[in-house]
Symmetry: C2
């Protein structure tokens, strides 16, 4: 999608990633454009993740110590070193509106001793990030795997340092839905309600509504666009696989209740054909709709909160939706 079209589908802010951008195209290229807003030609808010998650999942790790993390680029194998202070500097160079601190991520499942060490390092780095200053609004990240006491410990320690916003990281890494929900139920009461509370890498419509009801303020996720590229389309009733033969002659829009440009123009039949013929336009149309769908879901949730009617909104939505995951 063109960055000029984000607002058309209702998107008011986007997420980017310091790890990915440092490796490719490199900060110097982005700085020449006056930062990430100029590079992408997007003048709305940009949250930039530190890339802690990517370093610990995508990149072959060389070493991790108190100073920082040394890793090899997954693009060209070159060696890199990131410290908490370096990430703060990168946010300044990118012009991030909100920058995430560098954290230490653990896989799922993971030994308690390893999770504890990651939490301790994450806390020390959060403090160093805060002290490093910079122009970016820095958000801390609560780690602690699926261990309630470690999550609680991490949250309380970060709140004591005082950040303008707090993210809950290390979810959506393969753990069962109930465990993720339990982590949030444990952590959220320890984060100040007057500060932004952000759940990273989430989620499905049901996760979003559930977590909003628990007090989460914002989310980021590749799911709407990744699903779109695979032909998974969200509707107000269910998620559909548009490649299925049953849609070959379906002249309805992707989602009958959706007012987006794609749903007011094209049929399921046409879009299925584009997917079968491997036309790039298929992914463009599906991406446009899925992003419209999620931005409308969240817009309606915000409106329901303002109307003091969120619980009713969520219950009605959940009842109407056919769960398959």
């Amino acid at each position: 999608m063109f960055s000029q079209d984000f607002r058309t589908v209702g998107i008011r802010g986007i997420l980017s990633n310091a790890y990915h951008l440092s490796l490719r195209p490199g900060l110097e290229v982005i700085e020449r454009h006056g930062g990430l807003h100029g590079f992408m030609r997007w003048n709305g808010p940009i949250i930039v993740d530190s890339g802690g998650f990517q370093i610990f999942s995508l990149a072959p790790l060389t070493s991790l110590n108190e100073h920082g993390v040394t890793f090899r680029s997954h693009v060209d194998g070159s060696e890199w070193f990131f410290s908490p202070e370096e990430i703060v500097r990168i946010h300044d160079r990118l012009g991030s509106d909100i920058g995430m601190v560098l954290d230490v991520c653990v896989p799922y499942p993971c030994e308690e001793s390893q999770v504890r060490k990651a939490v301790e390092q994450t806390l020390e780095w959060a403090e160093r990030s805060r002290k490093a200053g910079g122009k970016t609004l820095l958000f801390a990240i609560v780690q602690g795997g699926t261990f309630p006491h470690l999550r609680r410990f991490c949250a309380n320690a970060l709140v004591a340092m005082g950040f303008p916003g707090y993210a809950i990281g290390g979810l959506s890494v393969g753990e069962p839905w109930e465990e993720a929900r339990a982590v949030l139920a444990e952590v959220l009461p320890h984060l100040p309600a007057q500060r932004a509370r952000y759940t990273m890498g989430v989620g499905t419509p049901q996760e979003l509504l559930m977590y909003v009801s628990m007090g989460v303020d914002f989310f980021d996720c590749a799911l709407p666009t990744r699903n779109a590229r695979n032909g998974s389309i969200f509707t107000g009733k269910e998620k559909i696989a548009i490649r299925n033969a049953c849609y070959a002659k379906d002249e309805r829009p992707l989602d009958e209740s959706c007012p987006c440009r794609v749903c007011t123009t094209h049929t399921r039949s046409y879009i299925r054909h584009l997917f079968m013929a491997k036309e790039i336009l298929a992914t463009q149309l599906a991406t446009w709709h899925n992003l419209s769908f999620f931005s409308r879901l969240m817009r309606e949730a915000r409106q329901a909160i303002l109307n003091d009617a969120f619980v009713e909104f969520k219950d009605r939505w959940m009842e109407r939706y056919k769960w398959d995951e």
Copy 2:
């Protein structure tokens, strides 16, 4: 590109293909949408090629005789039979504004005797197509390979039958540029100037300007979009390979003289980055620009003709352009 954006880049008519659409998604699906205009949601003119070229190049051929051609689908191997009359019916079912007759295509190079047979069959089928009636404006196709006398013979015979437009087919199939030019020089004087003269499957900016100067009225080609997908970008000075390292820090637009949405927004540096990162957006931006480039080239050529200044326009353009092909 969304069909609603064609006009934004200056495109007033598009080409489609009876062979491809018959095989996938099938005519029944398209008819349910009220024809191809409804299926694609494009209300401008659509020329529909018969698919003669595709049948003789993509599809495993089963048999060719006076009745028509039997072939296997390149998509699923199913057997199909197309006759000239069937193609006319397909044009009616699709709602083609201009429909090309079914022709017999030969490869390059090709024995004279085989080309002669193809021409004779093409002529017989053209006559049968004309008699089949239908609602579509039918254009005939001049074949004859690179044999001047066969081209001349085919053109004269088709003109004697009387069509509203004539296409020159069988070019851009691997023959040297000089041979294609010689074919056009041979054929064009035999086609009535007050009828549309159309060169199929052409071409580069230099071919377009050259052939316009010889009297060709219109063209179709996959080159602007296929090149875009490969990162080949047209500018008023030369064709550039945007993936090249020299564009990594190039903050100029793709084409400094282009007023399109992409060139007024993004830098070469940004678009190169998108190509290197394999972002779908790279092909979207490149496609948008290349189509804007070609539609502007032709719009300016039309204006120059109206101003009686086409030769000057063409010479100036050719002089400015750095040829590499």
